[in-house]
């Protein structure tokens, strides 16, 4: 079936089988490889992306369910100022190790700070509770997100 949606701000139309998951459609049909597959059960968060701005695990979304929606992956926020702050904070705080969870983690962190620009440490931890990182033990990720808060230029 034909699916039309907005991917990172660009309208796209793809023809896929309806029983394909969103993560598979993006990776296999559209070459969006930043969306990682870690469990396909919605448990690890590596496939996190934004649908209409809200972080979701794309392995649990059926491809046709994004018809008419806005899908954002890390590629779509490359030049976004909040994402730049977050990205730099991640890099400089040592929050990136193997990098496999990083795109999903950054998207969760982005949604968190977008909606709550001054989170407490507890809120930061909760904002990324759906993203498993097995390398860092989360400490540097949490520090990076709190550091990004400091970096965000006042509007």
């Amino acid at each position: 079936m034909e699916i039309s949606f907005e991917l990172n701000g660009e309208p796209v139309t793809v023809t896929v089988e309806p029983y394909m998951s969103l993560v598979d459609m993006l990776r296999a049909e559209m070459d969006v490889k930043s969306v990682k597959k870690g469990c396909e059960q919605g448990e690890c968060g590596a496939c996190t992306l934004l649908i209409d701005g809200a972080p979701v695990t794309s392995c649990l979304v059926l491809a046709p369910q994004v018809e008419g929606r806005h899908v954002t992956t890390i590629e779509g926020l490359e030049k976004n100022s909040l994402m730049i702050d977050l990205r730099e904070a991640f890099i400089e705080n040592g929050a990136v190790q193997c990098g496999f969870c990083t795109p999903g983690m950054l998207l969760s962190a982005y949604a968190l700070l977008r909606d709550n620009p001054h989170p407490s440490m507890e809120e930061v931890k909760m904002g990324i509770e759906g993203n498993i990182c097995r390398c860092t033990g989360f400490t540097k990720i949490i520090e990076a997100i709190l550091d990004a808060v400091e970096r965000i230029a006042p509007e």
Binding site: K33, Q97, F100, M126, E129, C133, R134, C135
Partner: protein
């Protein structure tokens, strides 16, 4: 030469420019942009998919395998069984007990029986339903005691004991006769899954007489060796390109060669590219785990607080195959007394087969189970002696000149005592000797130590190689077989290179390891990636530096000694105005006949080990860690949380403090998971929690406050700038730190981990007066 003195002896400087500083990793940007490529990302659309067809019974003889009907299905391209293996149908790592494709017997639920190639997952699924294997089932040995019982059925020829180990140092009985107190307990440490977020994968592309595999192992050269072995080809017919790995922790060291061999075998047979990407249940159910171990431990100490003897009996559960158990068991045996000097040690070990998923490499490699037992024994002795647990440890801890369990004399680079004192002071230990209650919750402090021999045990030769190429424009290409699995060792290498040749790290590009162009660095395991790999890098850099200095010297017409290489320039120390950029220098080197490429090979100094007595120099050097931790136990619910951890580590020389902290924090999290929540659940040999839903790993919410790591630097003479590996000690020390803090808080001892809420609750109930 003594590589810890490069700075003073060769560079003639007092201060480091990049080593020891936090420098942004050059790979982090691509990762944060989502542009970093992992194995599955290389697989083009439409590639033939491979799936391993596995046994559904734990122990059986294969009577027949019928694939005919499956082969008729549309989309099914090929099915291979053991009969198709024309090279070597054997992939055992240490012992030849592991068939590539099982054609006679299966040894656990998940044993590979056939390889199915199809155009998509649906065809694979249909083929799996149509393959029929007729088994003659054998009694399943699902427990080490069943395997060791008199009426046990042999899992492999030669019996159910894969190997034994033994150390006799001093006279244990004499030691016990001198002891005033004795404790004897039995400890159990279970399976642990690595749970890297990226599963095992390989993508193989065949051409005439050659195959290229992109994969996520931990040693491209070991992968090459296994692939060539299975195919019956020579090494130069196999090209392995190591992609970035999305976490590995040892697991991919064992699985990387296997998934690559399956993919390469199918691709060469089929004559077209093949991709093998495991799903999560396959990864959890069938790949190697941390080996479980039962450790019976007797220790004695005098009233003065000196440990006089230990008697340790280790039963390691191999699972279906020996895999790395010889190395694992020897490590436990050689470390048996823990990080203490004990004159009288008696250690026996055996590795026992069972019909369960096999164990294998995992961060901490044997030392978790061992230290959990050894450190809990130390806690118990201190308790019996009414002595402060840290004070008691300080009276026994390994120092320079101490002899280890295997009688290895530690002649230098032993910073454990400093680590222990540092965490004692940082945590204000003496002010926290009473548990603190708040409502139903109680908090306590605990301590744990770790020592961990670097790289492989016994007399195994250990070496590494690396190469650097200075390009005409002054940029550099660095190649190492040490792989990037998240830890950042290759980046540590280029910091070492950068320090030596005076070119900023960002000008040095790290190529992916490719066995056609990279030198063999041996595996990325045993905390050797930086120490061995980095020293090879240093040697290459020293050679290149000589050439650069020689060229600059000719160019400036001044003697060698006056040349400095700093910040991308070469200049005359006595006349800094006389200088050239590395770009200009590179051009001159090409034109004037100075070799712009350099190669470094480093072999760790020769070691002596007697396998008969178990005594000798087991490891080149050891790394050490100490952790103090505060835990909180909710005595109503049994929930245990780690609140705060103070880590210290002797890393020889910190090449990158930020990355060291990353290793320590990750270790603490993984160790906390092992101590409090992670567990493989098996029912009749089948893993019933094959995913993140029921295999519980720590989340962001469980993260304790980890204080800045206290870095102790006792340089290792043969490591570049004195550096030692840092990836493992903290996961070893944190497990007993947690259980010791639990004891401090609640008075309860736990000899089995994980301590989950219901375990704690039961123990609390039973302890009620």
């Amino acid at each position: 030469m003594e590589y810890d003195k490069i700075l003073s002896d060769i560079l003639g400087r007092e201060d480091f420019l990049v080593v020891g500083k936090n420098v942004v990793r050059t790979d982090a940007l691509d990762k944060a942009l989502g542009k970093a490529m992992y194995t599955a990302d290389y697989v083009p659309r439409g590639t033939t998919l491979l799936k391993v067809y596995r046994s559904t019974v734990p122990h059986a003889r294969i009577k027949s395998v019928d694939t005919a009907e499956a082969l008729e299905l549309p989309g099914v391209e090929a099915i291979y069984t053991g009969a198709d293996v024309t090279g070597n149908n054997q992939i055992g790592y240490a012992l030849p007990d592991q068939p590539f494709l099982n054609d006679e017997k299966v040894h656990y639920i998940g044993d590979p029986v056939a390889l199915v190639c199809a155009r998509d997952e649906y065809a694979l699924e249909k083929a799996f339903q149509k393959i029929s294997v007729e088994y003659e089932e054998l009694p399943a040995m699902l427990d080490i005691d069943v395997s060791l019982s008199e009426d046990a059925v042999d899992i492999h020829e030669g019996g159910n004991i894969a190997l034994t180990t033994r150390i006799r140092k001093g006279d244990a009985e004499k030691g016990f006769s001198e002891a005033d107190v004795e404790v004897e307990e039995t400890y159990w440490s279970p399976y642990q899954d690595h749970m890297y977020i990226e599963t095992e994968a390989a993508y193989a592309v065949p051409e005439h007489g050659k195959v290229t595999v992109i994969c996520n192992g931990q040693s491209p050269f070991l992968v090459r060796e296994k692939v060539a072995h299975v195919l019956g080809w020579s090494l130069n017919q196999v090209r392995i390109i190591q992609a970035l790995a999305g976490g590995a922790f040892g697991g991919k060291d064992d699985q990387g060669p296997l998934v690559s061999a399956y993919a390469a075998f199918a691709a060469t047979k089929l004559g077209k590219p093949v991709a093998l990407v495991w799903d999560r249940p396959e990864s959890v159910s069938y790949s190697n785990k941390r080996f479980p171990a039962r450790i019976k431990y007797r220790s004695g100490a005098t009233e003065e607080g000196k440990v006089t003897a230990v008697e340790v009996d280790i039963t390691l559960e191999c699972g279906a195959y020996a895999n790395r158990s010889p190395f694992w068991l020897w490590r436990q045996t050689a470390h048996a007394a823990g990080p203490y000097e004990v004159d009288n040690c008696s250690v026996d070990g055996r590795a026992v087969y069972t019909n369960k998923v096999y164990g294998g490499s995992f961060r901490g490699f044997g030392d978790l189970a061992l230290h959990f037992a050894a450190e809990t024994q130390m806690e118990r002795l201190a308790y019996e002696l009414s002595m402060d647990p840290i004070e008691f440890r300080l009276r026994n801890v390994l120092k320079v000149g101490s002899r280890t369990t295997c009688d290895q004399v530690l002649d230098h680079s032993v910073g454990l005592e400093q680590c222990l004192k540092a965490v004692r002071d940082a945590s204000d230990w003496s002010s926290h000797r009473e548990p603190v209650w708040e409502g139903s919750k109680v908090r306590g402090y605990g301590v744990g130590l770790a020592y961990h021999g670097i790289s492989t045990s016994r007399s195994t030769p250990d070496w590494s190689a690396a190469s650097i190429l200075l390009n005409q424009d002054g940029s550099l290409t660095y190649r190492t077989g040490i792989v990037e699995i998240g830890q950042g060792s290759p980046f540590g290498h280029i910091k070492i290179v950068s320090e030596i040749i005076g070119v900023p790290p960002e000008n040095i590009r790290i190529e992916l390891p490719d066995t056609d162009s990279t030198l063999n660095a041996k595996p990325t395991h045993g905390s050797r990636g930086l120490m061995l790999g980095g020293t090879a890098a240093a040697k290459a850099a020293l050679t290149l530096r000589e050439n650069m200095v020689a060229c600059a010297s000719e160019l400036f017409e001044v003697p060698y000694e006056r040349i400095a290489l700093v910040e991308g320039r070469a200049y005359d120390k006595e006349d800094p105005e006389t200088s050239v950029s590395v770009r200009e220098l590179a051009e001159e080197m090409y034109n004037r006949g100075y070799d712009p490429g350099a190669y470094g090979y480093f072999k760790a100094p020769k070691r002596f080990f007697d396998p008969e007595t178990g005594l000798g120099v087991n490891y080149s050097v050891y790394t050490f860690a100490a952790t103090v931790g505060e835990v909180e136990v909710d005595t109503e619910t049994g929930e245990t949380s780690v609140i705060r951890v103070w880590p210290a580590m002797d890393c020889g020389k910190a090449i990158d403090p930020l990355m060291i902290e990353g290793q320590i924090e990750g270790s603490i999290s993984q160790g906390m998971g092992f101590a409090l929540m992670e567990n493989m659940e098996l029912k009749d040999g089948l893993v019933i929690n094959p995913g993140f839903k029921d295999y519980i790993v720590p989340s962001s919410m469980d993260t304790p406050q980890i204080e800045p790591c206290i870095i102790v630097e006792e340089p290792y003479r043969h490591g570049a700038f004195g550096a030692k590996g840092v990836g493992e000690p903290a996961i070893i020390s944190v497990v007993p730190t947690i259980t010791s803090a639990i004891h401090h808080a609640t008075g309860l001892w736990f000899n089995t981990i994980p301590v989950r809420p219901w375990t704690m609750h039961k123990a609390l109930k039973e302890a009620e007066p």
